[in-house]
């Protein structure tokens, strides 16, 4: 096992962490601040990816343009979903079950429209990569990580440095008290729900560009990303990205050193160890 190969794997893992972080962001914020465990976040991301694939492959629409259409649409989907949760006063746990059902619904829809086969969005720029010394850094994966970092930083700034963000955190901590101090948590929560759904759209864009698509893939992401969300700490955008990179690197190294098929074990082993160890930030 050469040093270069190991480093190359580590870089690959770090970049993989970008997509984990991107998916974990919306989930972590909605769980931590809205007390809604949105399992359908993954399905939504894949729906976005499929739409981008479809528009690109059949009508030649560039990915960025599709994304521009999809993001506002997803924002509205997020609002609608949140309206449903609010109307039926869905509890934290019930939200998980409802969105679990929703995930299956979207998965069935995807399978019905695009079949269960593996699809790949082919672009002219898909294979391009930077060369740094002996290492190759694929551009699209790098962009994913950059996007994840930018969104995480923006979310962190929004939550910690703006009045609106502080109000949101206060409302999540104790709704009635925050309301007594004049915080309109309702409107804020709708905005947040919309933004989380839109972030699923961003994740979808990069999934379309870098991954192979199949409806069965949706479920394969749920476990890992949940591990990332919990390890990163609820409602902690930067933590989610860091945890994503941690899991990504450990997975990639397992693949390189042991055997690719064992990689799924890593995320959950880390999760289980952390749950036992129980550090303060968990």
């Amino acid at each position: 096992m050469s040093f270069t190969l190991l480093t190359q794997s580590a870089v690959g893992g770090l970049l993989l962490g970008g997509i984990y972080g991107l998916l974990a962001l919306g989930l972590s914020l909605s769980w931590g601040l809205l007390r809604l465990v949105n399992l359908s976040h993954f399905a939504l991301a894949f729906l976005g990816a499929y739409l981008i694939y479809h528009l690109g492959t059949n009508y030649g629409v560039p990915a960025w343009l599709s994304a521009l259409i999809i993001l506002p649409a997803f924002f509205l989907v997020g609002l609608a979903l949140h309206a449903l949760f609010v109307h039926f006063k869905v509890s934290e746990f019930a939200s998980m079950l409802v969105t679990f059902g929703l995930t299956i619904l979207i998965e069935s829809l995807i399978q019905w429209i695009w079949s269960a086969d593996f699809l790949k969005y082919e672009t002219s720029y898909a294979q391009e990569s930077l060369r740094i010394g002996p290492l190759y850094v694929p551009i699209l994966e790098l962009l994913t990580l950059v996007a994840a970092a930018v969104l995480a930083a923006a979310a962190w700034f929004g939550l910690n440095r703006t009045t609106l963000g502080k109000a949101l955190r206060a409302a999540a901590h104790d709704g009635p008290i925050a309301a007594a101090f004049g915080i309109n948590a309702k409107r804020l929560s709708y905005v947040l729900a919309g933004l989380c759904a839109a972030s699923a759209g961003v994740a979808g864009l990069f999934i379309a560009l870098t991954s192979t698509l199949a409806p069965s893939q949706i479920e394969s992401w749920i476990g890992v990303v949940f591990a990332v969300v919990i390890i990163g700490g609820l409602a902690n955008p930067v933590g989610a990205l860091a945890a994503g990179m941690l899991i990504g690197v450990s997975e990639a190294l397992t693949m390189a050193v042991v055997n690719p098929a064992w990689a799924p074990l890593v995320a959950f082993s880390i999760l289980i160890i952390l749950l036992l160890w129980r550090p303060k930030w968990l």
């Binding site: 465990v37 449903l84 746990f93 019930a94 929703l102 995930t103 949940f226 098929a261 799924p264 749950l275």
Partner: protein
Amino acid sequence: MALNRNLIPGVAAAAVLALVALPFTGVADFYLSYLYVIFFWIALATSWGILSGYTGYWSFGHAAFFGAGVYTTATLAGKLEIPFLLTIPAAAAIAAVLAVGIGFVVFRIRTLRGEFFALLTLSVTYVLAAIISNTWIDGGAGVYLSAVEIPQFGTSVPGAIYLLGLTLAVAALAISRTVLRTRFGEGLLAIHDDEDVAEVKGVPTFRYKLIAFAVSSAIAGAAGAIQAVYVGYVTVGETFSITVPLYVVLMSILGGARHWAGPAIGATLITVAQSLFISGGQAELGRAGVALALIIVILIVPTGIAPKLFQRFQRKAEAPGPTGKPTLALVPNDSTVAPVLKDSILLECHDVTKSFGGIRALRGVTLQVEEGEILALVGPNGSGKSTLINMISGHFQLTSGTIDYEGAKISGLPPHEIAQRGIARTYQIPRLFDNLTVMENVQLCAAFGRESDSGETSEESARRWLAFTGLLEKADLLPPALNLHERKFVEFARALAARPRLLLLDEVLCGLTPTEVDQAVALIQRIRAGGTTIIFVEHLMRAVVALADRVAVLDQGKLLALGSPRETMQNPEVIEVYLGQAHAS
């Protein structure tokens, strides 16, 4: 109408017998297989309910235990040619061991939240799937079981599988029903409503959750063993798919997860509905339909249909008999009157210290409580009174120091053991089990409290204490239907039903009207007359003076003064704490 009720066991037995006889009547295999599928889901959903429905720890990892069973049989019967019937108990055992292993780890987490448990069990499914598919157990290609010999019990192979499925479904239902009607089941339901309180009332929550998890998983494992030979070819993808937890959860919610028959009703409805509306080619549409049903059910009927169904049925069946038994004498019975040994120490706190992070809530409190006395704990807000109560009842672990009770160390023991030794407490804000009736609330505490030496059943005991607190008419109501005064008295009745030698009362008078306060004071005096030692936290000085033999004043986590009410209240330091410097001089 009463006849109707006596008929039920007979009808049930006849139905089971008819089902057993069915394969011997020459019914086409198709129907047997169809019924088997229903039995399979009944067994699986019912088994899920034993842990998740009763305790509220919802598992999304039922596929892991079902899959452990599938692969146990695939390996033992398919590869090692061990007789199939022997592999069923083996599958159940392996699934149970797996569950105990997982439970041992996750149930130790004190602040384990429901969603974390759901995700952890889901994670376990992925881990197990990865291990099985990467090792010789499966290797990624699947395992054929077509060569496995299945005993036919005098019918055909489908007939035999049908009979096995029927046996397992009936067994699962019988186990689930039995569990619900025992102390064990009461404990599980209490865990669902408020786990901390259940533990403090004497329910060994850790052990109970572990046993429920093991039983639940064992049945799932056995179901997996039978399913393995039914399908004949098993793969990791099919076995550990999300379908199993999805269906099981939906069936249980639809039927009602807290009722023993709920999951079975849900399983039957969904399996039949699927076969009626969906022809084979559109399985995907069926899955979507089930998902949609899940969403609608959770949004519209969160408690499921079984409770409503059975309520209606029972209302019809129950003859309008006399409501409630004759009221029992309003005196504590003799068994609770412990010999009052004056000057004997019941409880001793030695240098008790508690820190929460950097905050030191108690800084070395040393005090003794004599058998038969009433000790009042007073002090300003945040002085550590409730913390001390929580330390004695075992809810919090000590940072340092020791607590001895009846001459033995109790600090460090789990709360349920402390409760069973005869220490009971009430909560400042009543924390009743909201889904159990008032009667069941009290009965549970009687069942899990200090051992009874009078041979009185927990029901008799509960009835007596409800009469004592004047709540007998409210016995069949759920706690949310009561007012604050009544809820506080249910807290009293619960604590008393546990036959305590030491009773800890945390601000029981707070929020009561003056008349209610007088009633409560009289009640406490009657309790002490029964021989129970009492420590009570109180702000209301009138009550403290009326009740207490001695008063302990806490300030900022330290014991400021201890003595008779009069001398303590004249202590300048105490006056300073209460009224400020100016009044002390």
